[in-house]
């Protein structure tokens, strides 16, 4: 049931347990138990809305920051990550392959706040050798949801 349950939650995490249960041919109690177990195991980390901030009055600036780090005998990637991840401004943090080490999504209320955060909090970390900050100018798609989706249900009400 796990993979299908996760697929259902990914598609719409706000569905009630009773509705999910019907889709999995089980009962609501079993769905609740399975979700609790997945949460307890840390498989499910949380539930969030996907928001097009451009449609709100709230100012929200995001930057994708490339980080290069230099490891030494005492420090590994996970330790550096743990230090960076705890900042609330860091929306996501990934170790990646290629020409830099960490990809960091930084979110704050203004470009200045983002810049200041990178300059004051990230750059001074001793292992960090370089930062490159790319401000996000427009978001078209996030977490599989295309923001400008114009697909409408134009089907005939009844068809054979």
């Amino acid at each position: 049931m796990t993979t299908e349950l996760l697929e259902i939650l990914l598609a719409d995490a706000r569905q009630g347990s009773a509705d999910i249960a019907r889709q999995l041919e089980t009962d609501a109690g079993s769905v609740d138990a399975a979700i609790e177990e997945l949460e307890a195991k840390g498989v499910i980390k949380g539930y969030q809305a996907v928001i097009d901030w451009g449609k709100t009055d709230t100012a929200r600036v995001r930057a994708e920051v490339e980080l290069n780090v230099e490891l030494d005998r005492e420090t590994n990637y996970a330790e550096i990550a743990a230090r960076i991840a705890r900042f609330p401004e860091v929306a996501s943090l990934r170790l990646i392959s290629g020409s830099y080490d960490f990809a960091v999504d930084v979110e704050a209320e203004s470009m200045q706040a983002v810049s200041q955060f990178v300059a004051d909090q990230i750059a001074p970390i001793p292992e960090v050798t370089q930062t490159v900050t790319h401000f996000v100018m427009e978001t078209y798609k996030e977490r599989g949801i295309y923001f400008d989706d114009t697909d409408e249900d134009d089907r005939l009400t009844i068809s054979p």
Binding site: Q15, Q23, L24, E25, I158, P160
Partner: protein, 390 residues
């Protein structure tokens, strides 16, 4: 003589004898209403995969707006031949495949290529509403073969015997089935194939819903022993790739039959729409499995809907394919037509009464679950309220 009468006289007997589609009345009723939730739709709610749409756009940009070969783009026929091997079907793309304007054209061609006036075409019912008129337009005498909820709406040799199908020239089967969602596994198809061989019946197998099976892989009757040479397989892109409006289907069969169909096609259609052929090629050659993603979404909705109907006391024979359930209408209402009409006017939920799908359909209604879970929940809530009011 009135003007109307004079005009009526100009219409051929053949056309005059072709009744308007049974869904028309409900379509018109629904069109007058606001806030209708429709469970009466016979097509996916997804759009065609982006790979198909982009292939169509590219083809237009490159000016690919000419006719193709009568039989269709060679590359597409090759891709389809390759695809059909997944159902253990082997057809030569040069002579045994014909690309058509929707599976509907393939059906019409098969009928016209196989049927002589007075030939008997056996049609298991309830089934897709086009078979009977298409057969009649080709001059056939239609022999309805009733399938029952007790048999899960699968075709049995008993049903064929009872209907007197031994004298039939052609048998049209459609599994997974519209409107019942019934499927037929290999074990169930074998006796039907033997019956066809024994009585020398040609089979038209409409396999348009082949990809929408939820408990295993579809078995084509053409893949059974001695069936290849007596079967025309019809399939297309409408259901599996959500491309209904692009109108692209195909027929596969032994060369003499496909050749006969192509002879009609070359004069009546010339070739299937070129843009749609490119879209189909884009769909078939795309990376990633868009079909299984759609199938998985349909499967969850299917389970949701079946469970709700069973709680509502409207049992459905376990549907294992297509995107329809065919529950029995509540007995407190006179019949399925009344149920569909009152449900529409009282709760603005559109379903299709089973009777329009032929023998065995009365007392049932077709419910399409090609809608989001949210819409299905709302529709089922309304049906629940409707039943509570009785």
């Amino acid at each position: 003589m009135s003007e109307q009468r004079q005009l009526d006289n100009r219409v051929s007997t053949r056309a005059a004898n072709t009744p308007p589609s049974g869904i028309r009345r409900y379509f018109e009723l629904a069109a007058e209403m606001d806030e209708v939730i429709s469970l009466g739709v016979g097509e996916p709610d997804f759009s065609a995969p982006w790979s198909a749409r982009i292939a169509a756009i590219n083809a237009l940009e490159q000016g690919r707006t000419s006719y193709t070969a009568n039989r269709g783009l060679r590359e597409l026929r090759e891709a389809i031949a390759e695809y059909l091997t997944t159902f253990n079907l082997a057809y030569d793309p040069a002579g045994e495949l014909l690309i058509t304007t929707g599976a509907s054209e393939a059906l019409d061609l098969a009928m016209r290529a196989l049927v002589d006036p007075g030939d008997i075409v056996a049609i298991p019912q309830p089934t897709y509403i086009s078979y009977v008129p298409t057969a009649k337009l080709a001059g056939a005498d239609v022999l309805p073969v009733e399938t029952t909820a007790a048999d899960g709406f699968e075709l049995t040799t008993d049903a064929l015997e009872e209907a007197g199908a031994a004298t039939a020239d052609v048998l049209i089967i459609c599994y997974p089935n519209n409107p019942t969602g019934a499927v037929m596994d290999r074990d169930a198809l074998v006796p039907i194939a033997q019956y066809a061989v024994e009585h020398d019946i040609t089979v038209i197998a409409d396999e348009i819903y082949a990809e929408l099976r939820y408990d295993g892989r579809h078995t084509s009757i053409a893949a059974l022993p001695e069936m290849r040479d007596r079967t025309v397989v019809i399939n297309g892109f409408s259901k599996a790739y959500a491309m209904t409006g692009l109108r692209l289907g195909y027929a596969a069969g032994p060369e003499p039959l496909i050749d006969a169909m192509n002879r009609i096609h070359q004069y009546t259609m010339l070739s299937a729409p070129t843009t749609a052929q490119h879209a189909a090629l884009g769909a078939l050659t795309a990376t990633g499995d868009v079909v299984s993603e759609m199938r998985s979404a349909f499967d969850k909705r299917r389970r949701y809907v079946v469970d709700r109907f069973s709680e509502l006391g409207m049992p459905t024979a376990a549907p294992r394919g297509a995107f329809y359930v065919f529950p029995r209408c509540p007995t407190l209402l006179a019949d399925d037509a009344q149920f569909a009409e009152e449900l529409l006017t009282e709760q603005q939920v559109a379903v299709v009464p089973g009777r329009i799908f032929g023998a065995g359909g009365q007392g049932h209604c077709r419910v399409s679950y090609a809608s989001s879970i949210r819409e299905l929940r709302e529709a089922l809530d309304r049906i629940e309220m409707f039943l509570d009011d009785y």
